[in-house]
Assembly symmetry: C2
Homo-oligomer: 218 residues x 2
């Protein structure tokens, strides 16, 4: 039942409908789905109904884009495939070294966090985070990573301030053990914060704008 939806969604995603609106007629979609224009039109209506896609139907062709709910469905299926084909659940994210050790550094230094990090990740984090601006093509991978379980670092209250849960994902940068940390309640951003036992920037002699590969465990 759900199956016919993922098939159509995947096709739309391949046409570019995941990141952007894509202009595709029901006839064209029918071709991609190997079905008639009529059936493709019906499928589009069903996808709309189920809120997997949105669309602006203009005078000539319609603009289709996949909703977050639709993207969800595709990611689920993608992760199944990863499980099947890549036993090593790793993913590479490319990013540019960015400014900003302020905020994150302050948070991660709180004993309430750092003790758990020591416990769960096996290292005491350097007082400060390493920030990376994800390259646009890789921003979607963050969602995939967030769908994997990660390591929960529980929040706490200290001196009347509330520190929320943080999820850590083990990673490596050029063989340096580290972890991506993401507040449990946060919006998607194109910047990630990375903690490490060492000062990554200094240890690897990196400067702002340098391109870095992060290999993330899923």
């Amino acid at each position: 039942m759900e199956e016919k939806f993922t098939f159509a969604l995947r096709r739309i995603a391949l046409l570019g409908g995941l990141r952007d609106s894509v202009t595709v007629s029901s006839r064209e979609l029918g071709e991609a789905l190997e079905m008639s224009q009529q059936s493709a039109s019906k499928r589009i209506l069903e996808l709309l109904e189920a809120k997997y896609i949105e669309r602006d139907v203009g005078a000539r062709k319609q603009q289709i884009r996949i909703t977050p709910k639709g993207a969800e469905l595709l990611k689920k299926e993608y992760l199944e495939y990863r499980k099947v084909f890549e036993n090593t659940d790793k993913m590479i994210i490319h990013g540019k070294v960015a400014q900003g050790m302020g905020e994150g550094g302050y948070y991660i230094c709180q004993p309430g966090y750092s003790d758990q990090i020591k416990e769960q990740l096996g290292f005491t984090p350097f007082e400060g985070t390493f920030n990376l601006d994800i390259v646009p093509e890789d921003v979607g991978k963050l969602d995939v990573i967030r769908k994997s379980k990660g390591i929960m670092i529980n929040g706490f209250v200290s001196e009347g301030r509330t520190f929320g849960n943080v999820i850590a994902y083990k990673a490596k940068i050029k063989n340096l053990e580290c972890a991506i940390v993401v507040p449990e309640r946060s919006h998607y951003r194109e910047t990630i914060e990375i903690i490490c036992q060492y000062h990554i920037r200094r240890t690897l002699s990196l400067s702002d704008g340098d391109l870095v590969d992060v290999i993330v465990d899923l």
Copy 2:
């Protein structure tokens, strides 16, 4: 049409049917597919008919395994997902440093090959290959890589000997540019040969048995 097959195959693969036979009754498969025992039984018969699976039906439960043809279908779909979610078409392969610079080294030194490598890959290969025994879980990834296009290094005839076509896949080992080379006509093996401008083993101080990550461009 093909869609219902991949759905069932994916489920079977998740149960372990890609690498091994998996014991699953039609009722159990029905549960996994969210359909009745009767329909699952029918689906199994259709998959058998289409040669996507094989099975031994014992007294109690049946043993199902996915055929190469079935694996093919799954890989195709998997690559579609990779295209959607990972614009950077890279894959990590883990392997252990292995002996054997003999054969491959001799071949790759032939000017007929090395000139083309210089031309297409941008480096003159070191006279010898770096061999890696792929860890068992990653052997399947080789198929995925071989399904991507790679760079064709044309064969030639020299002094009466025929040297066949070789396909090169750009890769990196700890930031060292290199390439996996695979004879066009070869059986699947668990060892890969890697060429590089430098002596990888020496440059990275590697010894037999060391675990190495290869990041392959698809």
